[in-house]
Amino acid sequence: MAKLPLQFRLNGSDRATFVDPASNLLDTLRRGLGDFGPKYGCGQGTCGVCTVLVDGEPQLACLTLAVSCEGRQIETTSGMADGPNLHPLQDAFMDHFAAQCGFCTPGMLTAARALLAKNPQPSREEVVEAISGNICRCTGYEPIIAAILAAANAPGARRA
């Protein structure tokens, strides 16, 4: 199959690659560009571990056609920290034991990041709603909810 050229910004850097027209964004990020932040959990839009931001909106990379991202801004957990300085959500996840195996964590952080960017002081219900597309098999969600609420109240949380 003829490959198509594709360019977008990934975590603030311009990236260019060639993709199959049928490739999804998840494979393109992981296998094409080597960003292993988004994970594969189901490939069918049910688990949320592949969540990335496309122009600031949370999207499931496994259900997003790569070619539809031409010229977009893609953000993943790999680019969430500002150099050595962690994002307040990352700090809060560490402080609240919000990861056990860590496999859902990149997707959770991305969903939470999208929430706080739009709604800096969410209620508990809004947090639960925001991560309702993300499955965590380990923590039972409570530490994750607590971490997101704590990050919302931390200084600097409004940084997207």
Binding site: Y40, C47, F103, R137, C138
Partner: protein, 583 residues
């Protein structure tokens, strides 16, 4: 952060140092990796020229394979290699063969028959996942469907279809001849006869899928020095390494396993579901090979927790004392053994629950059925029987018209009580756990129940004794088919067939650090090194038991070892399959 409290009043003799971690938050060393997405799971590795492996699975629960035609698949675009059973160097394995337990019974790729729906038959290696999947559809397999059996008791009946030719009786063979794990202590029939109430209930569990967020998988890549690098999701990395080395028939030092970052396991990542075929593919093609289950495969064919059927029959006195308990349980192994043989041993070690009962019998079977093989999952062998036991306890409380918390306190093990496994209970704390739970739940307890203590009353009178064990006409401790026969012999009080005194695997020192010792072997019975009283002294008993059982006889001759001495292996954690777990 929630704080935790160390109840030194309960565990005073357990540790005498001051713990300086419990109750404090400590940052986990893997957390920074998790929140920055720098943690590398097995699939987070890139290799040039990587092939993708997919398997063709059986659509039948049970069928003979008449013919396999892979010619069209071999010619399909991107396909680099097709694997069949004949390509697997050692195409029969059982996981616990690494510690010489059980017979090899499971092929990596089925050859002449399939025994469960989803059993792998053919593997395709192609340049892309899509190409591998497309080629899988081109494989033609001619099946002759066979009758299937799905029920753990039906499968043990004469005439049931043979699920697994290695075990033609459809049960796992303990010590190569016994159809179940047995435990006998005292005389349950006599206990039932003397009980005010006898109650039997059946409990049926379901299989449970672990559903890890990361599916099972691995990537194997040839290194330049004749070795193979394997990124694996395995929960037991060296277990997976040993299993893979055996199946692909290489020395284990040719395999370089990297893992430890498991995207959720819960027991479902101990079966080496993908590593052997990934390594074999890398050996035969010289290319890196990635074999990852997709979500559907994980849910349908990633081995679940085995369903158990449990019957509990209890003899209860009106005052709430349980005087006899008989447990019969059937563990659904699915089509192959994997770890179910071990689950039944754990189950046997766990009955009759944390209660002192003078007459206990249990018969735990591992049944083969035409279901997906089951495996480890969080307390397997114990969790299900605990559920059954505790529901039964509530029913007993109702029958005795007693508070369920108080019934548990009344029957709880106390320090020094003799367990049916012929070991004295130590460091017991059920009484206190129930007291604390009642207090936190504002559950009223009687003064008597509040005053109860694990340190009081244990090991008194018959509670420290090993009662006489009934033998059947054949001098055995009771096969199911001879249970109704006349009792002709009695195993003398204070004795057991399996020597109770064994070296501990780990000897905890007073500073809490464990000093590993050698993996023990069965040894003839001999008096245990005297532990502090009121621990169990084999024979002669310190005083006459206040029981109605046969009087203590002369010290018995030591029974012969019941299992051959096992060669040493590293798998200390599994040593309890030989009954050699510490204390």
């Amino acid at each position: 952060m929630a704080t935790m409290e160390m109840r030194k009043d309960l565990f005073a003799d357990e540790r005498d140092d001051n713990l300086n971690v419990i109750g404090k938050g400590v940052q986990r060393q893997d957390m920074p990796g998790h929140v920055t997405a720098r943690t590398r799971f097995f699939d987070d590795h890139a290799f040039d020229g990587m092939l993708h492996l997919k398997v063709v699975r059986s659509p039948h629960h049970h069928a003979r394979i008449r013919a396999i035609d892979t010619s069209a698949a071999e010619r399909a675009p991107g396909v680099k290699r097709v694997l069949r059973g004949a390509d697997v160097p050692v195409n029969k394995n059982t996981l616990l063969s690494l510690i010489n337990f059980g017979k090899d019974d499971e092929p990596s790729l089925a050859v002449s028959k399939v025994s469960y729906k989803g059993e792998p038959v053919v593997a395709i290696l192609a340049d892309s996942e899509a190409q591998a999947l497309a080629a899988c559809k081109l494989v033609r397999i001619d099946y002759d469907p066979l009758p299937a059996v799905f029920d753990v008791e039906e499968t043990l009946k004469p005439g049931a279809p043979v699920v697994n030719e290695t075990y033609p009786g459809n049960y796992f063979e303990y010590h190569e001849r016994f159809d179940h794990q047995k435990l006998r202590f005292g005389d349950v029939e006599r206990g039932f006869a003397g009980a005010d109430i006898v109650m039997e209930h059946r409990y049926q569990m379901s299989p449970i899928e672990h559903a890890p967020t990361e599916t099972n998988g691995s990537i194997a890549a040839p290194e330049q020095n004749g070795r193979y690098l394997v990124h694996s999701c395995a929960q037991g990395l060296f277990f997976a390494l040993g299993t893979t080395a055996k199946i692909v028939d290489v020395e284990s030092n040719q395999l370089h396993f990297i893992g430890g970052t498991v995207g959720g396991g819960f027991g479902g990542k101990v079966d080496s579901l993908t590593e052997p075929l990934a390594v074999l593919g890398a050996m035969l093609t010289g290319r890196p090979v990635r074999f990852v289950l997709d979500r559907e495969e994980e849910m349908l064919y990633g081995s679940p927790r085995g369903a158990e059927r449990i019957y509990i029959k209890d003899g209860l006195m009106r005052d709430g004392r349980i005087v006899a308990r008989h447990i019969r349980s059937y563990f659904d192994a699915g089509a192959y053994t994997r770890l179910s043989s071990y689950a039944a041993i754990k189950c046997t070690a766990h009955v009759p629950g944390p209660y002192w009962i003078p007459n206990v019998a249990s018969d735990i079977y591992v049944s083969y059925t035409n279901r997906c093989p089951s495996t480890a999952m969080r307390g397997f062998g114990v969790t299900a029987v605990d559920f059954a036991l505790e529901v039964q306890m509530d029913r007993l409380a109702e029958a005795a018209n007693m508070d369920p918390m108080e019934l548990r306190i009344l029957n709880a093990y106390r320090d020094g009580d003799m367990k049916p496994h012929r070991r004295a209970a130590k460091n017991t704390a059920l009484v206190e756990c129930v007291q604390v739970a009642a207090e936190k739940a504002n559950w009223p307890l009687s003064e008597q129940a509040k005053r109860a203590s694990s340190l009081i009353g244990g090991g008194a009178g018959e509670r420290s004794q090993i009662p006489a064990t009934q033998l059947d006409a054949r001098g055995q401790i009771g096969r199911p088919d001879s249970r109704n026969g006349p009792v002709t012999q009695v195993l003398p009080a204070g004795t057991s067939r399996i020597a109770p005194s064994k070296q501990p695997v780990m000897e905890g020192a007073r500073d809490g650090r464990a000093t590993p010792t050698q993996v023990p072997r069965y040894e003839p019975q001999r008096p245990a090194a005297p532990p502090p009283p009121p621990a169990y002294q084999p024979a002669p008993p310190p005083y006459q038991p206040a029981s109605s059982y046969s009087p203590p006889p002369a010290p018995p001759a030591p029974p012969p070892p019941v299992a051959p001495a096992q060669p040493q292996h590293g798998a200390v954690r599994f040593s309890s399959v030989f009954g050699t777990r510490r204390r």
